[in-house]
Symmetry: C2
Subunit: 158 residues, 2 copies
């Protein structure tokens, strides 16, 4: 595959996440990619992703931050090994901890932009800071502590 999208390179057996799995027919299909040292993803909520009418519900924001965080961690882990995603072995990360600060109500309608930055990186644990903006305004800040997926969760060994 030649896609720049991190999630396009997740192995088939771990590509069913409702937030970002390309094989989940019902889900959000979040797609993250590098822009320099920052990771970026864009997502337009559906009209029913409401909190209070006119605003995006917090659970969606948390979900997008979560998936963008684990995606960024996977990409950063490959990059640290000097190889692109899609090369073997695949490195897939899951969330150990998620924190979201809702700074202002997020308007429902505009495309949301997520930008991620790696704060800390070890082989098995990567911390990603993420901002979520709508129409150029910062609406939420998140932090994802992502850990390398244990083989017991179904990831084939690399």
């Amino acid at each position: 595959m030649t896609s720049d999208v991190f999630q396009d390179h997740y192995p088939d057996d771990v590509s069913h996440c409702y937030g970002c799995g390309r094989l989940n027919a019902e889900g959000h299909h979040l797609k993250s990619y590098w822009e320099g040292d920052e990771s970026v993803a864009r997502f337009t909520p559906r009209p029913y992703h409401t909190a209070i009418p006119g605003y995006v519900y917090g659970g969606l924001i948390a979900s997008l931050i979560d998936c963008h965080g684990t995606g960024t961690a996977a990409a950063a882990a490959h990059r640290a090994e000097g190889r692109s995603m899609g090369t073997e072995p695949p490195l897939r990360f899951v969330t150990a901890s998620l924190k979201v600060d809702y700074l202002r109500p997020t308007p429902l309608g505009p495309e949301l932009e997520l930008r991620g930055e790696v704060l800390e990186q070890k082989a098995r644990k990567i911390v990603v800071a993420i901002t979520l903006s709508a129409a150029g305004k910062l609406c939420a800040r998140g932090e994802v502590v992502a850990v390398l997926m244990p083989e017991s969760m179904g990831m084939r060994s690399g």
Copy 2:
């Protein structure tokens, strides 16, 4: 209304949350109620709420914790005023900050149980600690900092 469910008493104009609004046709309709000093909610994920196959995706867990937290805050605020939900003025809370620790993968299939406890309570800010269990096993811990909804978000004044 005589319902014990916190969300059943949210005013119509703020009952559209995807996570817990009774007027959101597409959403989760989470329902929270007191059991003594603990708040409880139960939710059975759909088959497509997948993370890795066999496990619940983290965004749903965050969403349930979020809505159970704001619901518990609203109920606690009414209780502190010595009146039941459904009496005027209604008090509705929104999330300022959400933290979720994923302690173990949450199996997809069993009903999830959320239990909330108020950690801190002021008139406009309430902190709720929440556990999420599946089949009797603790899978995630959350903390929700909930603040009284500003009138600018659409809540009619009480």
